[in-house]
Symmetry: C2
Subunit: 412 residues, 2 copies
């Protein structure tokens, strides 16, 4: 007996048949005596269809109207799922983001949740209903419809679990759990039974694609017990929690990669104290997330700043930089696309310098050039050419012996 | 210079190309110096696609969830149209029903508008924006999403025009105006330049299909100047207004028909004073609209009540009657389908008894049996077998000389 939040992604609700299957999973949980709140994404490729319509009308559709357009996708899913549950005899009610009380900041296409007024959800739960909430969407204090950006449905689920003090948040997806590497790239990749929030955060942020990093971050902050599992099998998934069985300081849990990377170099800015922060302020004001940043000076008066970012943001970023050319006083901007980021993640990655060296050596052994490097407490990332990603991931997965042990111990 | 409300139906926004055409029409009106509020329906067949999905999940999908599902259709249209306008350089903003302040009663699938808080629309207009509002939808005082039923977008447009005190409400559709009969059935049918609210109301209610009767009713009540015209041509449409050039008491303006008619006979109810009202109360509580009603008694203690209704409501009505069998104490219910209603409409129809006789004689002359008759101040309707509709409409159109004169004078 408890309160469980279940999230089903677009593939899980991609057809009428799959929606009926999802309804059965939900009913199973309900029959076990739990209250259930369900978060769903838009059906399969329906978001792509809508994006395509928008692109036919405008090269650069306004963000506000994109949110208006795309939020219909989840609204279709919640209505259909509620119908499926009711047709099986279980009272259910669907709620859009604004109806569920999900209030976000006033930014379109990538808003963050500010607060959740869960009174409507609680009221329906008290009446014994299964509550279906549209993922990915919210509303500003002024009644504008917003979206949370890619993977936002995960964030909706975790935020609701936090707000409702749920006993468990289950993320149902099209994979059986979190793997030591992408199984499509590395056939010997192994499913992890447990992983810490921090490690999951790095894996998520670095493109493991199973869970949205903001969702993991939110789960960590509010101590939400989180599992990732498949909606197509009954196999146990991966549990993400604060404490894991791993011995801290000695383990690597996985290799992540992300092929959607671009690099921008802003050349010959005046080498002043504020150069760096001026640039970042301009980008931040346009809600552009930069990833790794390198500053290099070739002569005393001028400096170059390079940063990596999502290729999706490239066009907009170049536009913003162009508009601020006079203000930032740089000479030119060079953009590089076709890049990827590979990362080795584990609590022990940085406390053991052999780990870092081992990573560089492995990549060098197969002639993969490293364009940028960044590190955190629990990961090391290298930017490499995108066409070398698969070779890099396979090499690193083998080098760190992730294919032979649940938790590989760094050789050192 | 003024404020114009324009409504575009589903066919008018059925594709990206058509949305761009609609945007041009709107911009024309804007360039002439008008403020413009636009109401749009769901794109082409998109509503049918959604209904089909629902039917796959449930024989009788819950009304609340149907509203949740179907309102996404207009939300897609408003976003795309706003994008089209912005891509052509005109500031535009889309609003869902709830954002536009359209508050309805707490009934799903056929709610009536209770009030409109137009402050958000006014605010956007004052900033020079074209405001695009989702037709067909509203929100209850408790934040539940509702729809206004078939043709509800017309009602949205007229209600907004009334609330905003617009100078004109233009209903753009796929026909060039209101005709003396359905041109697909009667090739000699003529377009009417003007028509009174009352006549339009009868034509609309009787199935002319061009304008939703509630929209006409609302226009009449709030004296909204209304025109119906084609979104595909520049041809002038039909103006609907209080005063027309017609000489009252002598004219017939059109022949309407509706093939979607069923008849129910409730047999052998106790012949008491309350029998009639008990039955109608039961139906009204389930929001079933009955059309014509006939009560007939064959013996003193028992009575039969027959009524016609939309075939769409037949299934639900039979369910409601079954559930109330004991309470209403009838013996059995007989349902008849495959019926149609043909009506001759005109301000002079009933003040000239020759008109009524002429209608019956014409139908008899081509051997069409009349199953029920109903009359109002400005029309006479006959229920006939649906497979005889076309013959009936053609015969009546000719008999009342609607093919040779803009306004036919009844022969008498």
């Amino acid at each position: 007996m408890g309160l469980i939040v279940q999230k089903f992604g677009g593939t899980s609700v991609g057809s009428v048949e799959r929606i009926l299957k999802v309804a059965e999973k939900i009913i199973e949980t309900k029959i076990q005596g739990n209250d259930v709140v369900v978060v769903v994404s838009a059906m399969g490729k329906s978001t792509d269809v809508l994006v395509d319509l928008a692109k036919q009308l405008s090269d650069d559709p306004p963000d506000r109207e994109m949110d208006m357009l795309l939020t219909t996708g989840e609204q279709v899913s919640i209505a259909l799922l509620a119908m499926a549950l009711q047709s099986k005899g279980y009272p259910a009610v669907s709620l859009t983001g604004w109806q569920a009380g999900i209030v976000t900041e006033s930014i379109h296409t990538k808003a963050r949740i500010e607060q959740i007024d869960n009174s409507k959800i609680m009221n329906h739960l008290q009446k014994g209903r299964i509550v279906i909430v549209a993922g990915f969407q919210g509303v500003t204090a002024h009644g504008e419809i917003t979206t949370l950006g890619r993977g936002g449905s995960d964030t909706t689920a975790v935020a609701l679990a936090a707000s409702l003090k749920a006993d468990l948040c289950e993320i149902y997806t099209d994979v059986v759990g979190v793997f030591s590497a992408d199984p499509r790239v590395v056939p010997t990749a192994r499913k992890l039974a447990e992983i810490s929030f921090d490690e999951m955060l790095e894996l998520a942020r670095l493109g493991a694609g199973v869970l949205h990093p903001r969702a993991v971050d939110c789960a960590k902050k509010y101590k939400v017990r989180l599992t990732v599992r498949s909606s197509f099998t009954d196999e146990e998934g991966t549990t993400i929690r604060e404490e894991t069985k791993m011995e801290k300081g000695s383990a690597v849990c996985g290799v992540a990669h992300n092929n959607n990377v671009a690099k921008i170099t802003v050349k010959n800015m005046p080498n002043q104290v504020h150069a760096f922060s001026s640039l970042l302020t301009v980008l931040a004001k346009s809600y552009i997330n930069v990833d790794d940043i390198i500053q290099s000076s070739y002569e005393s008066s001028l400096t170059n700043i390079s940063f990596s970012l999502s290729e999706d943001d490239l066009k907009r970023t170049l536009k913003v930089l162009k508009a601020n050319k006079t203000r930032l006083a740089f000479e030119e901007v060079i953009a590089e696309v076709g890049l990827a980021k590979v990362s080795v993640v584990g609590t022990g990655m940085l406390t053991n310098s052999e780990g870092v060296m081992s990573m560089f050596k492995s990549l060098a052994s197969v002639n993969i050039p490293i364009k940028m490097v960044s590190t955190s407490e629990i990961k090391v990332s290298c930017i490499i050419p995108a066409d070398m990603t698969e070779a890099a991931v396979r090499t690193l997965h083998r080098a760190f012996r992730l294919d032979v042990a649940e938790i590989a111990v760094i050789q050192g």
